[in-house]
């Protein structure tokens, strides 16, 4: 009898759960950080329960999406970027939107662009001041003896910014020259870390490491000021916007093929492009909003926005990135073993 009661109670609860407010499953990368009140407002206005599912960085997220395409784990995905878009499109895990949203810049073909940013080099100002070493002027300078053992990059095979940086060098120099450049960089002692956190917090000289130049984001110097105890007046780091070392990363959102709640999912994407969220993005995820006319927090004066970038287009990335990463691995990591 007791058992019967329990089972019926459980099934009643389950049924209640099923008939309750619709659930929208949102897959994101682990940097997703839209403010909670904004998300709550969306839930209230649309009578929906948001289930945010974080799936590692953008690369891991797309692979998880591909692995589960037969039985999708989400209805809408946010955080897919131009390095991964081609892979996702080829695997057919996203629902192509009939009418591309054209407003906002830049675009992310195949998805709706939400925000963008730049992967580039950051340097430790204090380190260079102390050593009285002039800043490198070109990427080639980094292969000279004066700059030996000064650079740390992320492994493009395990890190999104690492891949972005590799892509920008290839776009600037062409594959052959870029690989030769990486070989010289290897001989000049470039260090390769697994991901951004490892590079920034264990190798960058600003945080206890030995390398004063790190592959990071163009907004990082602003974030350094924003997250500083004594509210710094200038950033301890700055961008080193060398030609060929700037990649424009565009992040977007798209419906997952085979997902449910398509109407709600579209409303969620529109919500991400609403003024409120676009205003929130710069200081929560450290990316620039795609919608024009959004005022940036004053702290962004510490982040020099790159005027130019070298970014391959999505098709080039989709067709070649696996091969490029394989070559890079052979040249930088495998040789000399």
């Amino acid at each position: 009898m007791q058992l019967f009661k329990t089972t019926s109670l459980i099934s009643a609860l389950l049924l209640a759960g099923l008939t309750h407010a619709a659930e929208l499953r949102v897959l994101t990368h682990s940097s997703f950080a839209v403010s909670k009140p904004l998300l709550a407002e969306f839930e209230q206005q649309n009578g929906v329960k948001l289930s945010i599912i974080k799936a590692g960085d953008a690369g891991e997220m797309v692979n998880k999406l591909i692995l589960t395409r037969a039985n999708p784990i989400a209805d809408v995905v946010y955080g897919i970027d131009n390095t991964m878009m081609g892979k996702a499109a080829t695997a057919g895990v996203l629902l192509p939107e009939a009418a591309e949203r054209k407003s906002g810049q830049p675009q992310l073909p195949g998805a709706t662009s939400i925000d963008y940013g730049y992967v580039t080099l950051n340097y430790d100002k204090a380190w260079f001041a102390k050593k009285q070493l002039p800043l490198p002027k070109t990427l080639e300078d980094l292969t000279r003896p004066a700059y030996k053992d000064l650079l740390v990059v992320e492994n493009p095979a395990t890190s999104s910014p690492g891949l972005a940086f590799l892509l920008s060098t290839i776009s600037a120099m062409g594959e052959t020259k870029a690989m030769a450049f990486w070989a010289r960089l290897r001989d000049n002692g470039v260090k390769v870390s697994k991901g951004w956190t490892e590079a920034y917090y264990t190798d960058f000289s600003r945080n206890g490491g030995a390398r004063p130049i790190v592959v990071s984001y163009a907004t990082s110097p602003a974030a350094e000021v924003f997250y500083s105890k004594e509210k710094l007046s200038t950033s301890p780091t700055a961008n080193l916007l060398l030609p060929g070392a700037v990649f424009q990363q565009v992040e977007g959102a798209a419906l997952v093929k085979g997902g449910q709640q398509a109407a709600l999912a579209r409303r969620f994407i529109a919500f991400l492009r609403s003024d409120a969220v676009q205003k929130d993005i710069p200081t929560s995820m450290w990316m620039y909003p795609v919608q024009p006319g959004i005022a940036l927090d004053p702290v962004f004066q510490h982040a020099e926005k790159p005027a130019a970038h070298t970014t391959p287009n999505q098709q080039q990335i989709a067709a070649n990135s696996a091969g490029w990463v394989g070559k890079w691995t052979r040249i930088v990591l495998k040789s000399g073993q």
Partner: protein, 515 residues
């Protein structure tokens, strides 16, 4: 029911659990990757170097852990000093440290701008140091436990017969403590061989292990065929080690004599030994933690506790406590059943190692493939924690069951005690220390969340470990400082858990007083 049938019944739950959480996910991943394995995968010199390096660093770490851990353990087991039992609990703290925080602690000491003025970054020494930091607790705790089991009368007899302390050690203590050490070293080997956090962090890409290669193949290249082949190769090595260990353990098991040696106050030169042992312990297990603590104190000095005034911190603290408690309960249940079932069964005993030997990357992605609809559900996450935590309980209890004196329960039964009474009055008191030790390690595993970054996560499941990684995912001094503070909070929570789990019973307190 025959004993055999009885055993099968007990084993049902843990076996089903292993099947669902470990074996099937791996098989599913292998099935998904059923393409051709890249030609020349195993002929690749780079890969051969990684396999060799994985083996080498694991073996070296084992030898170093033995050489450094045993003398420390001997002093901790034999000498009574103020703070002894606290030291034994503090010893477990490295186990809960997120790899990244531990690495930052180690670098704060031995990094390019380290407090100690020697830069060991990018040398194998730092990697070895990191491995010792994480694994010494295993060896020391096990050796302490083993040394405490040696009958005091046997030691006394040897001494009366004129044996020097060295001779006593070699002839009496060493053989007795060997099975305990072997068990711990086996784990150290498995952790160092397949672990992928620390090697990479402290050694750079050059020192990456095979597990790192698997991670890259699965989560970035989606090359499941090659990943599967490598995972099977790893399984072959680790499985062999685990089976060898299970066999040795059974051979070396000796029934317990309940006449444990009690620690005594050191005298004269013995104080020196003790101080040296504690200094060594501090150097290898304590310094990185102190470095983390130091950075946290600096952060508090600069801006007070404002960094902790954050609803996220409360949520994370609550979740960490809740999830770990649930995982530990599940681990306790599975551990008991597995240990009881594994009595006298070699293969069941070896199977308790399965969660340690199957590549966690493969399990995480296999689970995603196998149960996509459950992949972002809390029960699955907790089950994954329990999977990594329960072998500690199972192995610890299995060892204790082996050394249970057989004739005591028999005598009690023949005197008319009910099986329940025999268990409550004889078996349970003898098993309790081992059970608690297993639980403490299980709790540490659950709190430390080894493979947390591999699984899907939700903002509402925020735990201390995930929050630390989240903070370290952004630039800025505040983020680094709050990560250090959170790590201290994690240590406090772990210490609390250990104190609750290993709270001495009334009888033990009495014994301690008398000694």
């Amino acid at each position: 029911m025959s004993e055999r049938g009885h055993r099968t019944g007990l084993a049902l739950l843990p076996l089903a659990f292993l099947l669902l959480m470990s074996i099937l996910p791996l098989l599913r991943l292998l099935q998904e990757g059923q393409g051709a394995v890249s030609t020349g995968l195993f002929a690749d010199r780079y890969l051969q170097w990684r396999v060799l390096w994985s083996l080498l660093q694991a073996a070296v770490s084992c030898v170093a852990a033995l050489l450094i851990g045993l003398p420390i353990a001997w002093c901790l087991a034999r000498y009574r000093f103020p703070g002894r039992s606290l030291s034994l609990r503090l010893l477990m703290l490295p186990f809960v440290m997120p790899t990244l925080v531990a690495a930052m602690g180690v670098l704060a000491l031995f990094g390019p701008q380290g407090l100690l003025g020697i830069n060991l970054q990018d040398t194998p020494w730092l990697l070895l140091y990191g491995n010792l930091f994480f694994n010494l607790p295993l060896v020391i705790r096990a050796a302490c436990e083993g040394l405490a089991q040696i009958p005091a009368s046997r030691l006394a007899a040897a001494r009366t017969l004129g044996a020097t302390p060295w001779r006593v050690f070699w002839r009496v203590e060493w053989p007795a403590v060997r099975p305990w050490l072997l068990s711990a070293l086996c784990l150290v080997f498995l952790y160092c061989f397949s672990g992928f956090g620390l090697a990479l962090l402290l050694g750079g890409q050059r020192y990456a292990t095979v597990e790192v290669e698997i991670y890259q193949l699965v989560s970035y290249e989606l090359n499941l065929a090659d990943a599967g082949a490598l995972a099977l190769l790893m399984l072959l090595v680790t499985g062999t080690v685990a089976t060898l260990y299970a066999w040795l353990e059974r051979r070396l098991a000796a029934p317990l004599k309940v006449d444990p040696v009690l620690p005594r106050r050191p005298q004269g030169m013995e104080w020196l030994q003790l101080v040296a042992a504690l200094a060594l312990l501090l150097l290898f297990a304590g310094l990185p933690l102190l470095a983390v603590l130091w950075r946290a104190v600096q952060a508090v000095a600069a801006s007070g506790f404002s960094l902790l005034h954050d609803e996220e911190v409360l949520l994370a603290l609550g979740n960490s406590a809740r999830f770990s408690a649930m995982a530990v309960l599940l681990a306790a249940l599975l551990g008991w059943l597995h240990a009881l079932a594994a009595r006298g069964s070699l293969w069941l005993r070896a199977l308790a190692f399965l969660p340690f030997v199957v590549s966690p990357v493969c399990v995480a992605f296999g689970l995603l493939l196998l149960y996509p609809q459950w992949s972002a559900s809390l029960p699955l996450l907790l089950a994954s924690y329990a999977l990594l935590a329960y072998p500690f309980v199972a192995r610890s209890l299995a060892g204790a069951l082996d050394s249970l004196p057989r004739h005591w329960p028999q005598a009690a039964r023949s005197l008319g005690a009910s099986p329940l009474r025999v268990f409550a009055r004889i078996e349970w008191p003898l098993l309790r220390p081992a059970f608690r030790r297993g639980l403490a390690f299980a709790a540490a595993t659950a709190l430390g969340e080894f493979a947390v970054t591999l699984f899907l996560s939700r903002p509402e499941w925020l735990t201390l470990t995930t929050l630390i990684y989240q903070r370290l995912g952004r630039p800025g001094a505040d983020n680094a400082a709050s990560a250090m503070l959170l790590a201290c909070l994690l240590m406090l929570l772990a210490l609390l858990a250990f104190l609750i789990i290993e709270w001495p019973s009334a009888a033990e307190r009495q014994l301690r007083k008398e000694s």
